[in-house]
Symmetry: C2
Subunit: 326 residues, 2 copies
């Protein structure tokens, strides 16, 4: 911030405020990182903000009062998050030189050991719940099983799911973000699920295949998944890992059926930066935690996706111990 | 749009895209309302976008391609949503005259009869689930009961909860947005919950009181709730309804303990505009659906909140039939 001649950095995204202060807003908050950092919290959050925050908390009263307090401190150049909504940006833009900065996204890219432990614990909970779920007999409906999986995660210590569980089957698997339906399981069965623990997310996908064609696609996705993970090391660019995963699928002639990027970072949010995608040239560093999740989707037929989350040290270490072949 | 000399209106918020096109994005989409409206959808959404959208869908490839297509059509003045994130705004601002417009928020303020039906059905599901939940014996933990309530909503036909269920008790009720804990129910018991049905939200709060002090606070909140609902009619300003609710609580000496606004609109999102708040001078119109939810919060002691959702016709009609006194 000093180098950029920025006197204050405004954080409003709940997980950014949580990351910096340990207080997660429930309605809105203006967290201002400056010489003497401060959080303007809503009146309804004051009790938890005072309880949880490591940064001084003040009750938000009026926008103009906050602005004049900041101006009184001589703040001219104000940094904002790229995720700030336009209507809030608009309120600040006349009083300050506003510029969008990714300081906090960059800091959050590299996970501290305690953050990695939380992600490991979330993964352990999610995978234990998955093992306890009885899906192989295919007697239940998708939506009931998705719900059971959530219940099992909570019983194992999760505060909730890290995103809406995708537990789908048959032709529903050809949609990467499908919604579980009130229908009996068909084949293949695709489960993309995660737990939340202590604020941190986990993310895994398994596909259980039955027919010869399903096995054939599975083997390609597995090769892509395994080789991409093996290729990860600090110093390479994220897009190079996407290329490793994608090239294998292209080689087998399914390039057009791999319709998303290879992976995304996770932490307090389920989608963080950087990601293993065609356009992301971020250099991989130790401490990053990123998913590897190649998939092949055959429209109106079926899809296969395999996803693990890796913690990056001198190489990539898969978090959790759930086998790919079930 | 014509009056403002706007040639195109960019929608990115998922529920705005859903409202306009019936397709709800799962990762990202650029929906552009213009002479010939179009949605640029992500490759992974193409299958559902083509299935659900009433607007022409095109696969999003590169940002520059999209921009040049828009420029080729002679689009100069581009409207954006107030909720657009800064990083996306930044990408459009050099090629177009960008201004923030609330056309769609304004349209969404007035619910169509089919939207009100969906909100009614969501409320019916949520209230049925609540009636089926056994909380009065106070034998279970808060978090288990919160989970049971979600399960019951789904069994009654909800696609999920419209927000994280607040089922809390004892001193935990003094936090408006408290999180259910792994602890046995104490008194009072406050439940703020809602179901999602066909994309639409419901929202209710009930507080079950036991002690004399709890009853005393309950009666004040109930008076505030009832009189505010009675006061609602088209032509008044939203802030006038907040004043009715607030004045009663102030009268009894608890003004400082009513630490949020009196209500918010709901629909596809759980929080929409307008709201019954001190600062909202929107004129109330027929077709609006808004919550009325006064509360009194005694720090470290307990809180009481009562919430109903009303559909506004010539006066306010409470949605659902769950009594306030349980």
């Amino acid at each position: 911030m000093e180098k950029d001649n920025i006197q204050a950095y405004l954080l409003t995204q709940f997980t950014n405020v949580q990351y910096i202060s340990n207080y997660k807003p429930t309605s809105f908050a203006f967290c201002i990182i400056k010489e003497e950092p401060i959080i303007y919290a809503s009146s309804m959050d004051m009790e938890i903000a005072k309880r949880d925050s490591s940064i001084e908390v003040k009750e938000y009263e009026k926008f103009d009062v906050m602005i004049s307090e900041l101006k009184k401190e001589g703040i001219k150049n104000l940094a904002i998050e790229p995720s700030l909504v336009y209507s809030t940006y608009e309120k600040f833009k006349d009083d300050f030189n506003v510029s969008s900065k990714t300081y906090i996204e960059k800091q959050r890219m590299i996970k501290r050991p305690d953050e990695i432990k939380n992600i490991e614990k979330a993964t352990e909970i999610a995978q234990t719940a998955f093992k306890e779920l009885d899906i192989s007999n295919r007697k239940e409906n998708e939506d009931v099983l998705a719900f059971d999986l959530l219940r099992l995660m909570i019983e194992n210590g999760a505060s909730g799911a890290s995103f809406d569980t995708i537990l789908v089957s048959g032709s529903n698997t050809s949609l990467p973000h499908a919604i579980p339906q009130a229908k009996k399981l068909e084949t293949p069965i695709l489960v993309d699920w995660g737990a939340k623990y202590n604020g941190y997310c986990s993310d895994n996908t398994r596909t259980i295949v039955y027919t010869e064609k399903e096995h054939e696609i599975f083997d390609i996705v597995k090769e892509s998944h395994d080789k991409a993970i093996k290729a990860i090391k600090p110093g390479l660019k994220c897009c190079e890992i996407d290329k490793v995963a994608r090239d294998i699928i292209v080689e087998y002639g399914y390039g057009d059926n791999f319709i998303h990027s290879t992976g995304h970072s996770l932490g307090l949010d389920i989608h963080e930066t950087p990601g293993f995608s065609v356009r992301d040239d971020t250099v991989i560093e130790k401490g990053m935690v990123i998913t590897v999740e190649p998939g092949i989707y055959l429209e109106d037929d079926f899809g296969v996706r395999l996803e693990d989350t890796v913690a990056i040290g001198s190489k990539a270490q898969v978090i959790g111990d759930l086998p790919l072949i079930l």
